[in-house]
Amino acid sequence: MLTRLGPFLAIGLLTVPVAFGLAGTLLPAFGYLPALGGMEFGLAPFAMLFSEPAIFMSALMSLVSGLATAAISLAVVMLFTAAWGGTRHFARIQHLISPLLSVPHAASAFALAFLIAPSGMIARLISPGLTGWERPPDLLIVHDPFGLSMMAGLIVKEIPFLLLVTLAALPQVKPARMRALIASMGYGRISGFVFGLWPSIYPQIRLPVFAVIAFATSVVDVAAILGPTTPAPLAVRLVDWMNDPDLSMRFLASAGAVLQLGVTAAAILIWIGFEKLGARLRDRFSCAGRRFRRDRVLRWGALAAMLVSACAIFAGLVALGLWSVAGLWQYPDLLPARFDLRNWMRVLPNLVEPLATTLFVAFISTFVAAVIAILCFVREDEMGHPPGRGALALLYLPLLVPQVAFLFGLQLLFILTGVEATLAALVFAHLVFVLPYAWLALKDPWRAFDRRYDQIAAGLGKGPVRRFFQIRLPMLARPLLAVAAIGFSVSVGLYLPTVLIGAGRLTTITTEAVALASGGNRRVIGIYAFMQMVLPAAGFAVATIVPALIFRRYRDMHV
């Protein structure tokens, strides 16, 4: 049966590239790569790695920034949900934040850069009035040596993600009733939530939190745009080595990827230590019956943090858009003196090919991922029970292993088999990352479908194929299109898989945008980053408007 293929394909797609990729990274790291003359195992690549200048500084930067990103974004999400859950403010902020999830990491990093740079919007807004700056000051805000801007860039992107997974877990703990119960015992909003509800929410969002740590410790695009340069975070240096024309650098890069694997693993282990510490603190306070009722400052602080992080991206995106159509724009003018479309006219011819690649890869990988996810759920219905915990953990595998650690090996594999830089290979690499999101996004709507519709249709004499295409598919059109929009936005935003598997010959809007980062031509960056942001937004717009139009005559098909 076709449906048996679903779980088989899914498990294969989630494990095989990671397993082979890791092998393809580990072997060269220990000196074995016959194609490049490495015939014997040894530790030479590691010796080379540890003699690189400031390599431990780079590793430490990755470790600390990853942990800090996860801790701060999770704290903001937890406190905000605790303080404002169930209120109108909460619903408003939720609507404000959710669209940010679809903005690619690189685009939001550029947005932040355009906002906070010495010549950015904030500096323009307060200059020269407050600062007296007549020209951009020589301050290292973007690329600051402590990686603060990089962390900020990651935090503003991870907050929407963690908020979304928290919201998905929230209904299962019956928050309204529990809140009322705990409040009746005299606990403050935040302490009551942290003591009473968070312990049952956190285990459900633990894997996504680990995914955030893994991503933030090994991120390349955001680090290249906002991160420190002397030294750069580990993953950025690895990719430079990997792209070095001197092929022997691959041994060094692979050894570095193994170090990256260790850094990410260490970060997750340290995080588990934090979890235990946090639980102990919580138990101590809750057993002492501490009420913490004076939490007003914290409550408003959480709201402010949420608002600032959302508004920063929105303001930055506006700045990006402005730069893309800016003519002459002198410092410290808040707005360009002239707007013109010449930037666009000039860039457009170069935009066509990356845009075509972006769209092709995003469409195909999303379509295939959606089909596989649907087959998995159909199979699940046939089996009568959901997959076990192990299968769920597999889903997170490509998100928990640092991308560089297995993509290096995967690239090598593709080179050896001669499929490197083909569209098929690129689609395959994207699929590995799109599939988990497609599955996760389809899970709840699929399971919420009333199966009696299916039974009625069977009673009317309709076979499985007609039931699927005439009943299930149209009734789930809205969530399925939302899944497609999510998959599409994931694919559009993917940087590292595209750079490594496309090998510079297949480029997308995202890889082009990040490549422009070092050049500093704001008008061109503005155009590419703007396109990056518009594509996922267009996807979500289509996913909202199309079902609304098709089913406009049917009230129960509206949201």
């Binding site: 009568g384 069977a458 009673g459 004499g461 309709k462 039931r467 005439q470 129960d556």
Partner: protein
């Protein structure tokens, strides 16, 4: 051997030593015959396995249950068939009209393929709607109908598919008292007119009484 086969070719619904168990615990065990136009009522508290019996006959039993025994419709064993080949219509307590189709679309979907030609199909749909007192509502969005109207469209829909038996899973329990009596009457008279054997599952004594046939109590 031949004796038995002839015995089974009798018209109607025959439930032959059907046993359903959950995790080794037997919850239903039944042998009954329902003549065309007759009603068998299965009563029992919620969770007793009434709906499970219907699911087994309809062919959509949840795999967590294990079941034995055979079910015949007009002499054909349906237990080995796929649900869509059984021609056993179902009515649930919710009307479950397909929300992405008009009222007419719901009925068109149910009509057998053997009814060919647009005009012929439209005529059959119009006739079916008229039969439940809803003539001319083809173009309506099901969401705009009242509860009673929805229940009647659901009835017209299941009858339009020309089933050979009818399974009713507490189909009146969500209607208010007056509507309930009317709908009940309509369903039973329609089923009787069409000569369908009916299996009704309910926990309402009044339903059982109105049905008029045999009553089996389970899980008590």
């Amino acid at each position: 051997m031949f004796e038995r086969t002839r015995d089974l070719t009798e018209a109607g619904l025959f439930i032959d030593r059907v046993t359903i168990a959950l995790e080794g615990r037997e919850i239903v065990s039944l042998t009954r015959r329902v003549a065309p136009g007759g009603v068998l009522t299965v009563m029992g508290p919620s969770g007793a396995g009434k709906s499970t019996l219907l699911a087994y006959i309809g062919g959509f039993l949840d795999p967590v249950f294990s079941a034995r025994g055979r079910v015949f419709v007009d002499g054909t064993e349906v237990t080995a068939l796929k649900p869509e080949d059984r021609h056993v219509g179902v009515l649930f307590q919710d009307p479950l009209l397909f929300p992405h189709m008009s009222v007419g679309g719901n009925l068109m979907f149910a009509l057998p393929e053997a009814v060919r030609g647009r005009a012929a199909r439209a005529a059959r749909v119009a006739q079916a709607l008229e039969g439940v007192g809803l003539a001319g509502l083809e173009a309506r969005d099901p969401a705009t109908l009242s509860g009673g109207q929805k229940a009647r469209v659901a009835l017209a829909r299941v009858l339009a598919s020309s089933p050979r038996a009818l399974l009713l899973d507490e189909p009146f329990s969500k209607l208010d008292a007056e509507l309930r009596a009317q709908t009940r009457e309509l369903v039973f008279s329609k089923a009787c007119d069409s000569g369908l054997p009916v299996l009704l599952v309910t926990h309402d004594e009044a339903d059982a009484e109105a049905a008029g046939g045999d009553i089996v109590r389970i899980g008590a």
